[in-house]
């Protein structure tokens, strides 16, 4: 059992509190009395107590919220402002409890051992911190103490308003979590997972924890494995110093120094991607990251961030953005250090290979290739529905859920009967087809060709690979045109077919067989039977 103890401070409805602290939403009646809702993409993200009393709750559409509470003040979600507003709170906490780590704006963790011995016990430390937060303008905060940060956060979230804190005894994480509904696992698993778990008859975290680790991995992938460890009270990323892993970290020197956060973040993107890829190359993921920002005058702002699942490159950049928004620098940014401090094995599976159970060495080799070429460069294919050969196959990057783009169920009348083409061009190559007299073959709106195809060629520049025939080739046999009304390459800027679209099979005198597409007088090679 972990010898570490973690204390988590949680400010309920932080987006609202941040907006109020930032001076928004105030007005007659005082800031805390007004019904305020913070919305993100049309949905309510957080509400003030007055709004909650009026029936507004998280997840409502804005219009529905306004109809329940006519005087509702609607504010836009602004992560930068929320991070900025949290910064003074963090400084106040740091003054009494060293080693603060941010989980997200509004929630932070501190190692409980040091603070507790300094402040006279865990309960006393919790009370002192609540006091500190009240003075910093957050009257309604909660504190949870447990072994791991996940349990501590749940303890904070379920703490009663009075006394405002909840202490889970040492070694008591698992029994404490066992009674909670599976919904608390949503941030660690994925938003839909709780519904799924309930359908499987698992209503509490305890029921989930009792599953065998192998079953969880097979069904939910690596994030499931992590959620399962958390549910069992085995939280690897307990707050507190870990030996940093300097060889995996990335340092970016900015020359000239940059003073705009978006410029800094844009410059850091390759480094963030390399960081994540470098970890992936060792089959690791980062769950705790230190971001150190150094300004031109040598001032340093250092902050440790935890992640409920693990950091992707975008997550890393978000934390940098939040940290820059928090201020504290007196000059343009000259250098940023990204230091992974908590890393975990990626688990036996990446997400999504439900039950497939790829051998570890296959997974490792593919992840290595992915870290070299990019996530989307390696994958498998799934056959679904559709008429055209390219429609019917979906490429699934390694680690994603293998679901076809179109369902395979409907009969898809008009699809080609086997045998199917062995080469399907990712983008059709332009071609020319003429009749016996040399006049171009044109498809009319009723789907008939003006002349029977006698010769064809793949146009210069359109030939995708070496070994394709150059020049005109007489047609030995052909069939079609069969109507094909889907437009699967509409992103192709080189001329959209506007009229009727049809397919033909053509065999050249050299024995090569082709699948052609035609619209009016335009021809493309879609696939080859080679």
């Amino acid at each position: 059992m972990s010898a570490r103890r973690t204390l988590v401070l949680w400010c309920p409805d932080w987006p609202v509190t941040a907006a109020v602290l930032g001076g928004q939403g105030t007005g007659p009646g005082g800031p805390s009395r007004r019904p305020v809702a913070v919305v993100d993409r049309g949905q309510v993200l957080a509400v003030s107590p007055a709004a909650r009393a009026a029936g507004v709750s998280r997840g409502l559409r804005v219009r529905e919220a306004q109809s329940r509470c006519a005087e509702l003040v609607v504010l836009r979600h602004d992560p930068g402002a929320e991070a900025r507003a949290f910064e003074p709170v963090l400084r106040a906490v740091e003054a009494v409890a060293p080693g603060v780590q941010v989980l997200r704006p509004g929630t932070c963790a501190v190692p409980a051992r040091g603070s507790a011995s300094y402040l006279g016990g865990e309960t006393a430390a919790a009370a002192v911190l609540l006091d500190v937060l009240e003075q910093a303008g957050v009257p309604d905060a909660r504190v949870g103490v447990a072994d791991g940060p996940f349990s501590a956060e749940q303890a904070a979230r379920t703490a009663e308003r009075l006394p405002g804190y909840q202490v889970v005894p040492t070694g008591g994480d698992r029994p404490f979590l066992a009674g909670l509904p599976v919904d608390v696992l949503a941030p660690v698993l994925d938003p839909d997972a709780p519904d799924l778990l309930r359908r499987l008859g698992l209503r509490t975290v305890g029921a989930f924890a009792d599953l065998s680790p192998g079953d969880v991995l097979a069904r939910f992938g690596s994030s499931g494995g992590r959620a399962h460890r958390l549910a069992r009270g085995d939280d690897v990323a307990a707050a507190g110093g870990r030996a940093p892993l300097p060889e995996l970290g990335r340092t970016v020197e900015l020359d000239p120094a940059l003073d705009r956060a978006d410029q800094v973040v844009a410059t850091l993107r390759p480094a963030a991607e390399q960081l994540v890829a470098g970890l992936a190359g060792q089959v690791l993921v980062c769950t705790g990251l230190r971001v150190e920002v150094t300004d031109d005058l040598g001032g340093v702002v250092s902050r440790r961030w935890l992640h409920p699942r693990f950091f992707t490159a975008d997550d890393v950049l978000d934390r940098v953005r939040w940290q820059l928004a928090g201020g504290g620098l007196g000059a343009p940014v000259a250098r940023v250090d990204l230091l992974p401090e908590d890393v975990e094995p990626q688990g036996a599976h990446t997400e999504g290979l439900w039950g497939g159970g790829p051998d570890d060495h296959v997974h490792q080799a593919l992840t290595r290739v992915q870290s070299r070429l990019g996530h989307r460069a390696v994958g498998t294919s799934v056959v679904g529905g559709g008429r055209g050969p390219a429609d019917r196959t979906t490429f699934v990057p390694w680690g994603d859920r293998p679901l076809p783009a179109r369902p395979g169920e409907p009969p898809w009348p008009g699809r080609l009967p086997p045998p199917l083409p062995s080469t399907v061009l990712t983008r059709p190559a332009q071609a020319t087809v003429v009749g016996a007299a040399g006049s171009p073959a044109v498809l009319d709106d009723r789907g008939t060709l003006s002349v029977a195809p006698a010769r064809f060629r793949v146009d210069e520049g359109g030939r995708p690979a070496a070994g394709w025939p150059v020049g005109w080739q007489p047609v030995q046999a052909w069939a079609g045109p069969w109507p094909a009304d889907e437009r699967w390459w509409t992103d192709d800027a080189r001329g959209h077919p506007t009229g009727f679209l049809a397919r033909l099979q053509v065999v050249g005198v050299d024995g090569s067989a082709w699948l052609l597409l035609v619209s009016a007088g335009h021809w493309w090679v879609e696939a080859r039977y080679d």
């Binding site: 497939g356 790829p358 051998d359 060495h361 296959v362 490792q364 080799a365 593919l366 290595r368 290739v369 070299r372 070429l373 460069a377 390696v378 994958g379 498998t380 294919s381 799934v382 056959v383 050969p389 019917r392 196959t393 490429f395 390694w398 293998p402 080609l416 009967p417 086997p418 045998p419 199917l420 083409p421 062995s422 080469t423 399907v424 061009l425 990712t426 029977a452 995708p464 690979a465 070496a466 070994g467 394709w468 046999a477 052909w478 069939a479 079609g480 099979q505 065999v507 024995g511 090569s512 067989a513 696939a527 080859r528 039977y529 080679d530």
Partner: protein, 234 residues
Amino acid sequence: MTVLPPELAERLAAARSAAARADRRFGTTTSRRALETLPALAALLPGGALHTGSVYSVQGSVALATALLAGPSAAGEWCGVVGLPGFGAEAAAGMGVDLSRTVLVPDPGAEPVAVVDALVGALTVVLVGPVGRVAGAAVERLTARLRQRGTALVACTPLGAPGWPQSTAELAVTGSDWQGLGDGHGHLTGRVAEVVVQSRRSARPQRTRLWLPDHEGRVTPVTGPVAQVVRAAG
């Protein structure tokens, strides 16, 4: 599983035992292992099957290269396809390839051999498309690793292009006779392919005719006479 005609089965057995004798005599292999191979192709290959640690060059036909993959894949081996952006997955599935265990790297970037190298050992059969010019040393290294790690390589190149150096066997489709298509009517129902196999073990190239594929999308030997499609004059 297609039942082999007796004369092919006999030749297959003879070839296998000859290969086994040769292996015992020269002690050539440590990790060479015969893989499940489509019966239609097994008789064409040295040793009567696809073997790990070997390189097979296929010229002028993605379908034939895919067919080599189909046997091991259907038997549950992990396979890979590198550098063939247009790999016809559905056609491959029709031949018996298990797509869920077939890893695609459509665009391996500037160093395809390095990507293949990273997959060797993890995958049992790797099908690689045209890779351009490759330094001799890199090929040597890769060939050695194939033997060490127990992976078979199928290199698919266009007709006329040089095959992969140090191939155990070179296969080529030298002629195709597509069935089912007339002059404006019908649809493709299958192809009789003329396949030539040149291996290091036999001086004379071996010729055979295969359905590549037949009307169900499978690869089978041509046994009887092939019905000629009547084509209208014109």
